[in-house]
Amino acid sequence: MRITQGTFSYLPDFTDEEIKAQVQYCLDNGWPIAIEFTDDPHPRNVYWTMWGLPLFDMKDAEAVMEEVRACRDMYSNYYIRVTGYDRSLGRQTTALSFIINRPEEEPGFRLSRTEGADRQIRYTLSSYSTDKPAGRRY
């Protein structure tokens, strides 16, 4: 199951050229870029691991692309996303975030139903891949 989250999630995966253009758009807006990766793609997992530090004060997307490539070499079978953070007062949030790398196989999620009192049903999602310990999932 192809995971979609963040901006552009319904578009086909970006080429490097397209990633670079989006990164440059962020930089032109003054949004520092951070690169994050994870092997736990649950939609509620907001704590992805950061690749190095956020890239402050960059002017040119090529500087970011070097890190994108380095991260992808190291974690080629992980989900990797690029985020642009808008620190301006009143916004102070992620302005844009999109997935730039994904594992070859994405087994998707299991939907579990728990029946409670009064025939009430609670639903929960869990990723098949997180059955395995971190680092051995994909």
């Binding site: 890239l55 004060d57 002017k59 040119d60 090529e62 500087a63």
Partner: protein, 302 residues
């Protein structure tokens, strides 16, 4: 056939060169070199348009000269021109000194230098007083690590940035002797000569005009004499000394007007009087104080 005149005009090179001429007094050799580089880049572009194989020229540079001779100012203009002619993608300048590049402990230098290089990508990396990177007396000095990373970046990231090393001439020469790698990677060595008295006066006129003040004939003469004295004194730093002197003169002028009170005309608000200049200690063999210090003790005592 390709019309070079048209290409030259379209690239708005002349406009940049004219601006440079208006903004910077003197510096003829530097301006000539900038003109030559602009021509080189223009031809490179025309060749590319004709699909003639063209190697990207190496534009790493070294700027040597005493303080206040305009090295930083020219570096900023250079970045704009290189950007305009499509040689660098962004055209910003990142200024770095030893402190920005060299770390305090093992493993600290590489990330620092790497970060500076990344920030400079797409623009110009200006390394002021580059010779401080090299400390021959300490063979474990972390500066060596920064030097090696810079050398590598100058080679591998030639498409991404231009490195300009700046500093005093004699110390830069020693630095290049000890680090031949730099010397061979630098395509252009520009020397910024000290300004003559006439040039300093012209710089002063330009600055005064930019700040909408003006000299009258007596104050012009007084400033000329001020410069003659000041040039002989220690810590003279060319155009920067002129700028600092004007800052102090503006301070004295303002205080004179406030003390005088009553009605003032617009002319008085913009005019620098002889007295504003002659109060300076420089005329009595002393050094001018820093403007901040002067404000604290009050102008009268200075």
């Amino acid at each position: 056939m390709i019309d070079i005149d048209v290409a030259f005009k379209e690239a708005k090179i002349q406009q940049f060169l004219d601006e440079l001429d208006q903004e910077l007094i003197g510096l003829e050799t530097v301006k000539t070199r900038i003109k030559e580089i602009a021509a080189l880049l223009l031809i490179a572009r025309l060749r590319e348009e004709q699909n003639i194989v063209t190697e990207r020229p190496t534009l790493h540079m070294s700027f040597t000269g005493k303080p206040g001779t305009g090295k930083t100012t020219v570096a900023i203009r250079m970045a704009q021109i290189l950007h305009h002619l499509g040689y660098v993608r962004r055209g910003h300048v990142v200024v770095a000194t030893r402190d920005d590049l060299v770390g305090q402990y093992v493993g600290h230098t590489a990330p620092k230098t790497k970060d500076v290089i990344k920030r400079a990508m797409g623009g110009v990396l200006f390394i002021d007083e580059a010779y401080y990177l090299y400390r021959p007396e300490n063979e474990r000095d972390y500066g060596q690590e920064a030097i090696e990373m810079l050398l590598q970046a100058m080679e591998n990231k030639r498409d991404d940035m231009v490195v300009i090393l700046a500093g005093y001439k004699d110390r830069m020469d020693t630095f290049f002797q000890a680090n031949p790698g730099f010397h061979s990677r630098i395509g252009h060595h520009l020397h910024f000569a000290d300004y003559s008295l006439e040039e300093l006066m012209a710089i002063a006129e330009l600055m005064v005009q930019q700040q909408t003040y003006h000299f009258d004939p007596t104050s012009r003469q007084a400033f000329w004499e001020y410069l003659q004295h000041r040039m002989q004194q220690p810590h003279f730093s060319n155009a920067r000394s002129v700028r600092n002197a004007l800052d102090r003169i503006k301070l004295r002028q303002a205080n004179r007007l406030v003390k005088q009170g009553g009605q003032v005309t617009p002319d008085e608000l913009t005019r620098i009087d002889e007295a504003d200049i002659r109060q300076s200690r420089v005329f009595r063999g002393g050094l001018d104080e820093e403007p901040a210090k002067m404000a604290a003790v009050g102008v009268n005592q200075v």
